[in-house]
Structures are given as C-alpha cells and as structure tokens.
Symmetry: C2
Subunit: 272 residues, 2 copies
C-alpha cells in the first residue's frame, strides 16, 4: 500500500480511534476501520499506537480524558490486562476475561467487550465452514484462545480440545467453558492435530522467522481445516505446512474482517 | 473538505504525530502536515488531540513512552505549561518560554522549540510585507504574542508596542525582549492602533461570536496592515473591520503555513 496514493484528510474535528498493541506493525485495523469510517461517511480516523505493557495503564488513562478520542481496539499482549482498567465489561469480555474493543459511555466511563470469537466464527462461516458437530482443536488459552474456544463451543461443536504450554491456563479455560456450555465436550489436549476436523492456532508461534509449528499436524489429511489467527506473516509456517497436505487453510485476517461491522455497531450505537 | 474524497491509508507501520490543544476544532495542522508527509513520501500521520490543561502532563507522559509517537505540535492553551514538562528547550523556546513543537531525541528525552514567530514573519514576507523600520503593535503577551514580539523585534522593527489585559504579563514581555534586542524600541502600550504600521492580534478575542475587537482601530487608514493569528474564523471581526477601512489584512493560517517546512526539518533532522 503506497503512502502517496491517497492522503489522509484529517482536521481538528476528526474523531480519534486507535489500536493499541506491542508489537504493532502487524495490525490490519487501521486499513479496515478507516475504510469502514469512510463507507459510513464518518469524520474519524483509527491510528496504531505502540505501547509496552508497563505503559498501558497510562495510555488508557490518557484515552479516558482525551476529549476527541472515542474508541480503542486492544490487541496482543494487552487484552487481559486492560480488562482490569475499565469500569464495564460486556458479555463476551466478562466471560473470557479479555477485552478487544473499548468505547466511552455518556458518563465518561469505559465499556469493553470482545468480538474476536464472533469474528473468527463469522470469518469461517463466510467461507462456508460451519462448526456444528465438529471436533475442533484450539492451540493457546490466552486472550484470543479463550475467545475462540467460547465462540466455537457456542456453535455447538461436538468436542473442543484446548492446549496451552501453561497447564494451569489450559485447565482454567477448560473448566470455565465447560461450566457454562452444555452438550459440548471441552477437554485439555496435547498439541496433536490427528482426529480433529478444525485446528486453530491462537498463539503467537509463527510470527517470528524460525518459529516451530505450534501443533503436530503429521496425522491430518486434506479434509482438515487449519486456521491461524496470526496476521503477519499472512501465510504462517503452519498454514504452509497444512496446505502441503491439501488442507483448507484459513488466514488470520478473516477473524479481524469478520468483526469490523460488529465493532462499528458497538462504537456508534447510542446505547450499547 | 469531504471525508469521502480520499481515505487515510494507514497501517501498523505508520508513525504518529499529533497536535494537542483545547479547543481543537480550529487547528489547521492535520491538513498541512499530512500533505507535507505525503510530499516527502513519509508513512506518518498527524491527528488532532483534544486535551484539557489538567490532563496535559498525562498526555505528554503518554507521548514520551509510546514507541511510534514521534512528534507533537502544541497549541493554545498549552504552549507555556508544556515547556516545564520537557528536558530540552531550543533557542526560541528558551527565549519565549513557550513551546509549539516537540520531538524525541535518540536517548528518549524531549526537545521543544517554538516556530510561531518565524512562521508569522515568513507568512508576512511571502506576501511582500517586511517589518524593518516599522511600528508594530502586538495585542496579547501570552505564548503566541511572546513569539511574535520576539520575531518582529528580530526583523529590526523601529518600535514594537505590546498590550495585554494582564499588566504584569505585558511588562514582563517588554522587559524580556528589551533585554536582548538592541536598536528596537519595545514598550507597553494601550490597545489603540493609531500610529502603528502593523497591528497583530495574538489573543483569542475574535474566536467566539460576539467577541469585541481586541484593539481600537478607529485611528488607522488603508496604509495599515492588520494581522490576526486566529485560525477560525478565518475572517475575524478585527480583519473584517480593518478591511472596511481599506487596510491590508493578513489571516491566521499564514503563520502556520509559514512554519511547516521549518517544523518538518525539526521533526526529521537527525541532529537538531
């Protein structure tokens, strides 16, 4: 994307939105949301803000008081920490403990919710891939993994396997989702894909050159769907390896694209 | 300017700049600097940030730590307060006590300087209006007035009159400039234009509907130049009244436009 093609037309009246993360170079939100603002005729801009974990609280405090700063998208590694810095959690944020979107309420307090899970499901379904009755393995029980496990369970998957290098985090997520979803087997698993219909990588393993595969895919065939939520690289080693086996692969940007409309409604609804 | 004409093409790699003020709607910097970034082929964006005085320190602290936030333009009413929040002051900032531009040095410390005065002089001179030997009346001894008085004195004006509703602020500015400029008469004056060649309004009087004129222009004729630094409205009551008398009028945006190149060099020079 060339910076010379098309200039930002911003003014002192432009409302400010941001995505905050660390690292930040990989994010797709500026492109997607600025297009969405334009499509709705809104004088608003979304910029990327690169903020380290120790500086997040100060950044949120600044967001809170800045008069023309209306909304915040939150990405890795801040989704869980930010949940403790705001007054109100929507349904998915309360359930997952992770926030990926924050807006201001009329009284100035902050409301956060999480649309990652819904975005992931919508991204798959827009390609004709349903989850009902499927065996799904989710790698990673952090903020994104938690959102995906909950959303997959809500789609009435038959079984959801969960793996995390941190056994406690893995077991906590299994226990939490098992506690409020009926008719779906939620279980701790090893990072082995054999026997699953859909594999989802929700870790950052694959972002850095030389990363190993986050899951052993030796046992899967072309009927398996392999998804990654990593945005950059678009084709992670996992997706490349799965493609070599003839699998359907599903790239990370679909989760983001699947939630743009939902997040826009959240930002601009008078009473969320 | 329609928001639908041309979309911001921003990404996670875009470097962030901002103008901070209160109010903020009037600022022209987003338009001017985004065009300047584009002209230089830089992947950077300047957005407006509306921050109240009590929140300025937190905002500057956030600017300091945000890894992709590289520069700050400072406008009313923060130019003097911000000078006490940063490590280094350039020549014009040290002399005026007011900062209108801040960048980060390689060690992470902040350097501020003030290009308002130079911008005002350059704006006038680009229209063929020189100040050498002239009698100039400056209304307002705040951050902008201070910058303009210093810059006008540097142009070897014959006499610079200074008025401010706050007599102490007025006298302090007269004493300060008299102390380091030779051959120019700097004196406290009433807000009466008669006898001056150039009148400059450096107050915010004229921004709000119904504001009185900041200076009595009953005694001036068409040979007088009347300038305002207010950006919005573009045609202030002062400029309209002066135009009715046949005076040459000079709008506020010229001061801003006159300093864009200088500020760009300040932002992007490796060793300022």
């Amino acid at each position: 994307m060339s910076v010379s093609q098309s200039p930002p037309l911003l003014s002192g009246n432009t409302r400010l939105y941001a995505i905050v993360g660390d690292p930040i170079a990989q994010v797709g939100s500026p492109r997607l949301f600025n297009a969405a603002f334009r499509a709705r005729g809104l004088d608003a801009v979304l910029v990327a803000m690169h903020v380290a974990p120790q500086d997040l609280a100060g950044m949120v405090a600044n967001f809170r008081v800045m008069k023309n700063f209306d909304g915040l998208i939150v990405t890795v590694p801040h989704k869980i920490a930010v949940a403790g810095m705001i007054e109100h959690l929507g349904g998915n944020a309360a359930r997952t403990g992770a926030v990926n979107t924050i807006r201001k309420l009329p009284d100035g307090s902050l409301l956060g919710d999480n649309f990652d899970g819904a975005g992931f499901v919508r991204g798959l379904s827009s390609r004709g891939i349903g989850l009902a009755g499927k065996n799904v393995l989710v790698i990673g029980a952090g903020g994104a993994g938690c959102a995906v496990v909950n959303a997959v369970a809500d789609q009435h998957a038959a079984r959801v396997g969960v793996y995390d290098v941190d056994a406690k985090r893995q077991d906590d997520l299994v226990a939490s989702v098992s506690g409020h979803v009926r008719g779906v087997r939620i279980e701790a698993c090893k990072p082995v894909a054999a026997g699953f219909d859909v594999i989802v990588n929700c870790t950052s393993v694959g972002m850095k050159p030389g990363d190993p595969l986050p899951v052993d895919i030796a046992g899967i065939g072309p009927q398996t769907v392999v998804a990654d939520i990593i945005l950059k690289p678009v084709r992670t080693p996992l997706l490349e390896a799965a493609a070599l086996r003839g699998c359907t692969t599903h790239e990370g940007h679909a989760m983001l694209e699947g939630q743009v409309d939902t997040v826009m409604d959240f930002f601009f609804s008078p009473t969320p």
